[in-house]
């Protein structure tokens, strides 16, 4: 089975606390999957584990055929597996442009740094306007844009967005949806963690519902239960 990203029975956590209890999921080239589910149930933790920020205690993660379980984060990034983390504060004292330029750090990313910057600016003109402002003084939404911008600067071969619409205005959400759509079309596969299910369903081919560090339900476009179904799933579980 040649999934681009293949996660088999991964468990992980913080110190003595286990958060992920045997998660398995996969993603094929050109695909876009979405993770949703109640807060605090391990979605971000999962992404952290994939990026190597947290070591999995068991299970295997493989990307593009190679096993990256327990690989060092820089390796993982160099291989093009990029994450835009949740509610990111980035580098407080660095200016917007500096940050973007720096983000193209891996050798792969560095060569088409300039063109990527242009892309990002097109996507978020606001960042252009604020180019010399320090990150820590950006507004919540602007920070979110910068964070996603950085991820794009890393020349991703697989992009993981953790709650990308967090704190974005409705209008920007739409624009972001379009943008992400473009990214997907450009052939970059996506893993999106998101609370806004409409947003998610408008983009993802498959959805995973994450609860208590497990995948409790996989929803495929094929056997799509439709929007209301998902909603019910959602409201259904909220009395736990």
């Amino acid at each position: 089975m040649d999934h681009l990203l293949n996660i088999v029975d991964v468990t992980a956590g913080y110190g003595s606390i286990t958060i992920l209890r045997g998660i398995s999921l996969h993603l094929d080239p050109g695909e876009c999957i979405g993770l949703f589910g109640p807060n605090g149930h391990g979605k971000s933790t999962l992404l952290h584990t994939i990026s190597g920020l947290i070591r999995s205690t068991s299970g295997t993660i493989s990307f593009d055929g190679t096993d990256i379980t327990g690989a060092k984060p820089p390796q993982i990034v160099n291989s093009g597996l990029i994450q835009s983390p949740q509610g990111n504060t980035l580098f407080g004292d660095m200016q917007v442009f500096e940050t973007l330029e720096l983000a193209a750090f891996s050798r792969r990313a560095r060569k088409d740094r300039e063109t990527n910057i242009q892309k990002v600016i097109e996507l978020f003109p606001r960042l252009g306007e604020r180019n010399t402002q320090k990150a820590k003084t950006l507004s919540g939404g602007e920070r979110q844009m910068l964070s996603i911008g950085c991820a794009l600067m890393c020349a991703p071969r697989l992009l993981m967005l953790d709650e990308p619409t967090l704190g974005l205005s409705p209008r920007l959400k739409e624009e972001l949806a379009v943008a992400v759509g473009k990214i997907a079309e450009s052939g970059i596969p996506l893993v999106i963690v998101e609370q806004d299910v409409e947003f998610l369903m408008s983009l993802a081919d498959r959805l995973y519902l994450v609860e208590h560090g497990e995948i409790v339900r996989e929803i495929d476009r094929a056997n799509a239960p439709g929007h209301d179904e998902v909603m019910r799933l959602y409201f259904g579980e909220h009395t736990h």
Binding site: Y14, I17, F36, G37, P38, N39, G40, S44, Q86, G87, T89, R126, R130, T137, L138, S139, G140, G141, E142, Q144, M145, E163, L166, G167, L168, S169, P170, R171, L172, K173, E174, E175, Q195, V197, M231, Y234, F235, H238
Partner: protein, 243 residues
């Protein structure tokens, strides 16, 4: 019949060349839920900052609260006077448990004795639906959502006259937003005026009785939520196609 509890009069905040908030005037009536919307970077949080003096007051203009000019007051005094805010970035006291977090808020506002403070905390935590079994955990171990709950709780426990919430719903699931919706209504019923910055329209529109929309630091529209969302300029600048 309007008796403004909180007013800004020509408030401005500039950062170098940038006018983050530019001559904004509005007044909030006792007991209402007052919504603030606007594109990213339009100055909403800055508005909160200059009203609460955290971390800075206005560059110019007045802020009046219960009839007093407070724009020169130190932040903690404003807070004690009953103007209580939450932050957009989740803030926490990493080493304190939920109980302790609330306890100090209670003591430093109501100046109530320790035991009374504890009782209050328990009540409020329950009100915001904070899982009882997590109350003894240090804040840095809590999830994003729990941190948000805690921040709101710590505001409530200090008996605010005006509760100022900066994007409380961001990152919440539908069910959680629904709960938040109820919570705000309850709190408001108990006589607390609420200022609400929110991008989650469902919540914003359902709870707020009045709404201003900021754009580039200036008021773009103000009035009944229903009307405001129909405003062309607002749709153009903020809502976008979906409306």
């Amino acid at each position: 019949m309007s008796n403004p509890i909180l007013q800004t009069i020509g408030s401005c905040k500039t950062f170098g060349g940038l006018k983050a908030v530019n001559n904004v005037s509005f007044s909030v009536d006792q007991g209402e839920i007052f919504g603030i919307a606007g594109p990213n970077g339009s100055g909403k949080s800055t508005l909160f900052n200059l009203m609460t003096g955290i971390p800075y007051g206005p560059t110019s203009g007045e802020v009046r609260f219960q009839g007093n000019r407070i724009d020169k007051w130190p932040a903690h005094r404003i807070a004690r006077a009953g103007l209580c805010r939450t932050f957009q970035k989740d803030a926490e006291y990493p080493e304190l448990t939920a109980d302790e977090t609330l306890q100090i808020s209670a003591v430093y506002n109501g100046r109530r004795g320790g035991r009374e403070a504890m009782r209050q905390s328990a009540r409020v935590l329950e009100l915001v639906g904070f899982a009882a079994k997590r109350r003894q955990m240090r804040s840095h171990e809590l999830s994003v959502y729990e941190k948000k709950q805690l921040m709101i709780a710590s505001a409530l426990v200090s008996r605010p006259a005006v509760l100022m919430l900066d994007e409380p719903a961001s990152g919440l699931t539908k069910p959680e937003i629904a709960k938040l919706d109820n919570l705000l209504i309850d709190v408001n019923k108990s006589g607390v005026t609420i200022l609400l910055i929110e991008h989650v329209l469902s919540l914003l529109l359902s709870v707020s009785q009045r709404l201003v929309v900021l754009n580039y630091g200036e008021i773009l529209a103000e009035g009944e939520p229903g009307d405001v969302v129909k405003d062309e300029a607002v749709i153009e600048a903020y809502l976008g196609g979906r409306g």
